[in-house]
Symmetry: C2
Subunit: 346 residues, 2 copies
DNA sequence: CCTCCCGTTTAAAGCGCTTTAAGAGATGTT
DNA sequence: AACATCTCTTAAAGCGCTTTAAACGGGAGG
């Protein structure tokens, strides 16, 4: 057996105990120790307790890299995450929780200016992730398909046709539809949708909006927007420059809605008295008591759970054909919507 | 040599190419291939090109777990991150960028309700992280000390005495001091500090405030706050209930400032005309054009760089004694501060 | 008393890469 | 021609764990 400590420059450095040390202390083989520590049936009660005691005494913790290498399965799920987007970060957190529940570990890696999503995915695969979950990725479908040939891929919160990879998303068209329904119910007849611009999520929300206003026969207009606060703020300023404000605005997401709210507030336009505002995502931001934004829930926890589920089905061989899970969104009515000040005639 | 593909249920599954495959394709030993791929001097030009060509042809990528296990050094830095806090997330991103620049990789792991910071740190150490960077941790000093006996630890953005671990932070007292200086310069004489409550960062900012107002001989009062938007919002409501508003408010951080701004706006209190507001952190939020918050910069990029630097000094044996790096903060003057409406007599 | 079987234990062979020390040629020296 | 010196290459021994297949010990059954 190798020494467990080495003296460097006269300083005694305690080495991390290895399985071998535990086995020796317990008077059994490393094979038995390994079995006990992983709670595999086989070893006798006596062996179990001796190994457990030894491990405890030595403060043993298995070396994850060694385990991963030796094991057939790593039970690692890779998740690239754009940290500066609160919704994606929240989704990532939920994914980690869901994975944990199923006995899997999540390897997170930040998407940064110096390492874009494809690069991060490569790094995750190099770490032996068994599958990759992409949170609202902006990659073109062809790239997603290519990626899916290298490992099971689940695309979350993005509307794209499953093709080698699975998709878990919320029906955005229906979501915006509910938002419109709610506004029309309240009496609104002139509604503007500040869209998501080029963002991947924009299209569905836009068509969902157009369909809904057509269905209701109300005046619905789309204004160019984007996915961050500044886009909503710019749209709000554009609206303020017009002769008359709409009675309600539906933003492409919560961040844009926050931008709208802010500019309206500064301009003395009261929400919801003068204009109603609806967001999309139901992120932490929207839930803040002082924002109290009416918004459409993306069901982050549920999407995360289903995404992890989809990945596991593939990993566990229960399924090989791609699936698309489309969750029903639901409108969360809070304080930024109310009947229009002077209900117009239908 | 083992087969590179296996037939399972009649489906041909291409296995990831191994170093052995590359070496065979190039007609050299795995040792040479390894050297070439890691760009270690030694192999001849001819060997180099053949190995590189073979690797390229096979689409070879080194298995990270195997490399980590075999290498003495992993060059991995562990970073537990509370994803739902934008400032910490930003710090994490900067750390990843800085680490990358130094040839290190960052292993991120989310702190969630089901796995708290200590648990996450354990997981990171199990992955063989060589050092751990804690971003504005709320752990008691004793826990930090204990942790530091297991691996080099760098505490970032928290004022705590280095003790076995290194500390990289910004001088918060001075930061708030600059904020007060700025307000006094503008003519403010009645300033309120909405503090950070129990948060670890609160104490310094509070004392910095008190010292500064005493120094200037102006009226300075501290109001109980917290570290999230709701705390700022609550404080703003409390201020509105008082007979007279202060002319300026300094929040404990940007999130709290955002809460203040929002409630003020809703109440028709104009910022900065009626009251000036200053935040702390200079996160993305503060920089948003429509928020345009005057705030104190935490120098996220610089703190990250110095933190990574501190970790590397230890890892590379250049230093063993703990250090404390205290950066000078600087006030970022934006649109939420202006002279008070009716400057009061000094 | 021998064989068979079963519950336990373990020796040993990996996992895919790195690294060390020795080997093989080629070149130079006396 | 013998030997020292380089440069380049590689066999082989790990890294710390898992896993397989074989070994073992002790009844039960004949």
């Amino acid at each position: 057996m190798r020494p467990t400590s080495t003296a460097v420059k006269g300083v005694e450095v305690q080495r991390r105990p290895r399985l071998e040390d535990v086995a020796a202390a317990a008077g059994v083989s490393t094979a038995s120790a390994s079995l006990v520590l992983r709670d595999v049936p086989g070893p006798s009660a006596r062996t179990r307790e001796r190994v457990l005691a030894a491990a405890e005494r030595l403060g043993y913790r298995a070396d994850r890299t060694a385990s991963l290498l030796a094991r057939r399965r790593t039970r690692l799920l890779g998740v690239p995450v754009l940290l500066r987007d609160a919704f994606r970060a929240e989704l990532a957190e939920e994914v980690q929780v869901a994975a944990h529940r199923h006995g899997y570990t999540v390897a997170l890696s930040a998407i940064t200016p110096v390492s874009d999503e494809p690069r991060v995915v490569e790094a995750l695969l190099d770490m032996r992730c068994e599958a990759v979950l992409l949170l609202a990725p902006e990659l073109p479908p062809a790239d997603l398909v290519a990626l899916a040939t290298r490992a099971p891929v689940v695309v979350v919160a993005r509307h794209v046709a499953p093709d080698g990879f699975d998709v878990v998303r919320v029906a955005d068209e229906a979501g915006v539809g509910e938002a419109v329904d709610h506004l029309v119910d309240l009496g609104h007849r002139r509604i503007v949708h500040v869209d998501g611009g080029e963002a991947a999520m924009a299209a569905d929300r836009r068509t969902g909006f157009l369909e809904a206003v057509r269905r209701h026969g109300v005046d619905g207009r789309v204004l160019r927007g984007g996915s961050v606060e500044a886009a909503g703020a710019a749209a709000a300023r554009a609206l303020l420059d017009e002769p008359e404000l709409p009675t309600a605005v539906i933003a492409a997401n919560d961040r844009s809605a926050i931008g709208l709210l802010d500019v309206f507030l500064r301009a003395g336009v009261r929400v919801p008295q003068d204009v109603s505002v609806i967001g999309y995502d139901d992120g932490e931001l929207a839930r803040l008591s002082h924002i109290d934004l009416t918004t459409v829930s993306q069901e982050a926890a549920e999407q995360a759970e289903r995404a992890v589920g989809a990945a596991l089905e593939r990993l566990e061989g229960a399924r090989t054909d791609p699936v698309e899970v489309v969750l029903k969104p639901h409108l969360v009515i809070r304080g930024t919507t109310a009947p229009p000040r002077s209900p117009e005639a239908g």
